[in-house]
Amino acid sequence: MVPILHGLAAGVLFIASSAVCLADTTSHSDAASIQRGAYLAKAADCTACHTAPGGLPFAGGLPIKSPVGTIYSTNITPSLSAGIGGYSEAEFDRAIRQGIRRDGANLYPAMPYTSYQLLSDADVHDLYNYFHYGVAPVNVASHPTSLPFPMNIRMSMKVWNLLFFSGHRFTPDPHQSAEWNRGAYLVNGAAHCDTCHTPRGFLMQELSGQTMAGSQVGSWYAPNVTSDPVSGIGSWSQQDIAHYLKTGILLGNARAAGNMGEAVEHSFQYLTQADLEAIATYVHTIPAVHDPAATQSRFSYGAPSIELATLRGENPIRSFTGPSPTGAELFSANCASCHEAFGQGSKDGYYPSLFHNSVTAEANPSNLIATILFGVNRTTAAGQAYMPGFGGKATDPNQLDNHEIASLANYVFAQYGRAGIVVSEDDVVMVRQGGPSSPLVLLARIGMGVGAVVVILLILFFSFRPVRRSQA
């Protein structure tokens, strides 16, 4: 099971097999436009949801774990029978920027049309050309999605759209530089950063005044990336931001894993230096949102330390797995061979230090738990950065149970990061299952009984929050 980013585009762009053939598949093609479209598709990270691991590009079929059932991403290749080959440009535009598929049904906002609405006409045209002439058709329908009632009622989306969907195109700010405006266009449009980084309100709308202030995304936590020097990334230079997006690494600060690792791997590393710098220029000015509880930047916690003296000579040589290992014992046996005895990482930086590391100093413990469970697997031009998961998948060679992971995480927080963060076994259960769970299907059915449309909306949006764990 591989959950993904925009929880939901599932079953969404399904195309009737009676699609009208294109009159001429080549005359509309324009090499430069296709190339621009390919670049935009990278910037928009379409592949994150629409290409399954080991599958053909954009053929869909990625299983998405959601609290209301498994949904499968759609085939967006130009196949007439299985993909979007039958879409006119206007129909394509309507799907991308309004969230309405060819048959008139609404898409769920896991397909980030609320961000893509900002795209320019020219960019939508290029994307259309790319997906029609630059992508190889795959005539295999992706796995059909079958969600339980009432999740299959798409009409409710029309009400939500009335409330929260503006339909505005991007409007440049004349007081800002062209570079800043380019960055704003990319960050809020194609790259849809806010989809993960902005917390949501009661109806799962993005909260105004909290833009990019940090939010739980399935198993992982997308942290505060506003310009606040303590709570956000205000301590990073524009160069730092661009470097991080290109490589997934800012030494002594942070590494990209989970959804962000995939965004670097599939999207940001391919952007031009100019676009990365434009993004950095804009991100650097995102209004600071300060967490009053935060007194210290998450990049500055911790120091090298070791507790081996508490271990050696204490434990016998066992012919069974010790039933109640200490955090220090688990760290020594599972972590220290790569992260080194003092948690300092390797000299070449391949293995990160565990202090001065955003993961071990975030108030929300999800990223540390998720990293232990699911590991890291991020490939960039510099090669693969890999850490094995310790039991997030049933096939992982080493399986730690919830108690062991909680002990280990508590030890790492106390020893190398933000002391005082306490991880419970329930926290591990939550991350292991893919994020906070809720009895929403049941509530929705009750809600239907009393005609509570609002509840349905809540359900739909809460359920389809962007959820993507690390790829298998």
């Binding site: 271990l311 050696r312 000579g313 434990n315 016998p316 040589i317 066992r318 012919s319 069974f320 797995t321 010790g322 290992p325 014992e329 688990l330 020594s332 046996a333 599972n334 061979s337 790569c338 390797s346 391949y350 293995y351 697997n377 090669g383 693969q384 890999y386 850490m387 094995p388 998961g389 998948k393 049933a394 096939t395 992982d396 060679p397 080493n398 399986q399 730690l400």
Partner: protein
């Protein structure tokens, strides 16, 4: 889905061979039940066991020390001579050369293997027809080659892409991963060997080189392959156990199989095991696989003698337990004028293999020549302490011994000989089962090689390397490559299993692994064992699918 006591395929043993068959059978839709004599212990505990060992047990070949045996599943503890002699009974002129190390834990002896994945060469499989010694295999290299490839992709083997450095360079697919670089000591050896016309080549090894494979991380050079890879970068069968469970296989640890039960037409009906309370249980199935490596498998067959099989199960040929082979090892320890600095990277990373081939094999044994790449700091540290040194003098001596000493190992091909025989000892183990007894003589074929070829060659090599002092062992030791006890052949009158590792005497009993190997060559045996497990799996699956 297998129940506790029945499955389509019942597999005894959870090492590399058992796990290979299990996964192939599960992938084919068959139910699988695995019975493991020893406990199932998590890697982190074994790593901690290793780190909690006293220094004297961390180095020097005590690879079993972090795996204390259960009373019901004794293996060879090497703490002391007396303890080592406790379970395995040995006799013959080279008895100590068969004191094999293996682990009766879920995951088996690959827990502490080096990960070396040499293939046999075409000539290794035709000793009788080419050189008039030993036996010919029932099939040729080209029959085995596809199974070698599957074994390499199943385990995740890294190796060179340059055919000049491949062994042998007859391959249908490239290695799944590129080779690992050589450490400085092995590079020195490579250069010295070249000066006397010998080619030291990078080892094909089941270890992740720079990338992940099967959810395991790349090797980061802990140099701890013996006795446990702390991060699982090296393939060991323990890394496969969760995958087998995820696919629906059932693994029962602490279940000591002591009897194979036959029925009409000599078809195997069940196996019987003792649990730790000494209670017996009966397990039925459609096909049975005994994958307990070359000592425990023949021991179990001999223990299972019944009215139909008075010499033991699968033993109408009287070959069960005979032809016990290993690579007879001669160890050399030397001091060098210049630092070698072994210890960078995995514990073994290269070998001279060309010395295993040649017309001389009609007269004496071929040999693999290898510089061990294990860090010498542990051994050097103990030696320096024993000299009574302290302070800076101690530091300097540890450094000198770590850098300027080295071990070169000679591993000789032994021939299958019926006199090298495993039988049941009168002595009983904790459960009351007969202990194995082995007579072992490396044979004149090997002794002539030492005299005329292998030791003279290594002396030239040591001289080229600048050795100032060398101790060349005069006694053979074991390589832990247990082969031959269920020897394969086309003729049921002089072999135990057919070319699919199926017992000649029992159509639903498979005995894949080292025991089935007809000859062993000079290379490490595991890859061939897993390739044979692949071949046996295909036959087993086809047989059960056919009904």
């Amino acid at each position: 889905m297998a129940s506790s006591y029945s499955a389509d395929v019942v597999i005894v043993g959870t090492g590399a061979v058992g796990c290979t068959v299990a996964e192939q059978a599960l992938d084919a839709g068959l139910s699988v039940l695995m019975l493991e004599a020893g406990p199932w212990v998590e890697r982190w505990q074994i790593v901690e066991n290793f780190r909690n060992l006293p220094p004297a047990l961390k180095g020097g070949g005590h690879f079993d020390a972090p795996y204390p045996p259960k009373p019901w599943a004794p293996h060879l503890e090497t703490y002391t001579e007396a303890v080592a002699a406790e379970y395995l009974q040995l006799e013959g002129p080279d008895a100590l050369a068969y004191r094999q190390g293996y682990v009766r834990y879920a995951g088996g002896a690959t827990w502490h293997w080096a990960g070396i994945c040499w293939r046999l060469t075409p000539d290794d499989m035709r000793l009788k027809s080419l050189y008039g010694v030993g036996r010919d295999w029932a099939f040729d290299y080209h029959t085995l080659e596809p199974f070698y490839t599957r074994a390499e992709y199943s385990m995740g083997v890294c190796g060179p892409s340059d055919p000049a450095l491949q062994w042998p360079p007859i391959r249908s697919k490239p290695y799944p991963m590129g080779r690992l670089p050589l450490g400085p000591g092995e590079q020195r050896l490579t250069d010295a060997a070249a000066k006397i016309g010998l080619l030291n080549i990078p080892t094909a090894q089941a270890r992740n080189s720079g990338v992940s494979y099967h959810d395991r991380p790349p090797c980061c050079g802990n140099n701890n392959c013996f006795p446990v890879c702390p991060i699982g970068a090296k393939y060991d069968a323990a890394t496969v156990l969760p995958r087998i469970v995820a696919k629906g296989g059932v693994i029962l640890p602490n279940a000591v199989v002591y009897r194979v039960e036959t029925g009409e037409k000599n078809i195997v009906q069940a196996v019987h095991f003792f649990d730790p309370e000494k209670t017996s249980h009966r397990v039925t199935g459609r096909a049975f696989v005994i994958a307990c490596n070359g000592i425990e498998t023949p021991k179990l067959l001999l223990l299972s003698r019944d009215d139909r099989n008075k010499n033991g199960v699968a033993n109408s040929s009287d070959q069960v337990g005979r032809n016990m082979m290993d690579q007879a090892k001669i160890v050399t320890i030397s001091t060098f004028a210049e630092p070698l600095w072994t210890g960078v990277g995995p514990v073994q990373g290269s070998s001279i293999m060309q010395t295993s081939q040649g017309k001389f094999r009609s007269e004496y044994a071929g040999v693999q020549i290898r510089m061990e790449n294990a860090a010498r700091s542990g051994i050097g540290g103990m030696a320096a302490l024993q000299k009574g040194l302290v302070g800076k003098a101690l530091d300097a001596e540890i450094r000198r011994l770590s850098a300027c000493t080295g071990q070169i190992t000679l591993e000789h091909e032994t021939l299958p000989s019926p006199i090298n025989r495993l039988t049941l000892s009168d002595k009983k183990d904790w459960l009351g089962l007969n202990k194995p007894n082995i007579y072992y003589d490396v044979g004149d074929y090997v002794r002539r090689s030492v005299q005329k070829f292998s030791v003279p060659t290594v002396k030239r090599l040591l001289s080229e390397l600048g050795a100032t002092d060398s101790q060349i062992a005069t006694q053979f030791t074991h390589s832990d490559h247990i082969m031959g006890g269920c020897i394969m052949g086309a003729d049921p009158s002089n072999s135990v299993v057919d070319p699919d590792c199926r017992a000649h005497d029992h159509e639903n009993l498979f005995l894949p692994g080292g025991g089935a190997m007809t000859t062993g060559g000079s290379g490490n045996s595991t890859l061939t064992m897993v390739a044979l497990a692949m071949k046996a799996s295909d036959a087993l699956v086809a047989q059960l699918k056919a009904g």
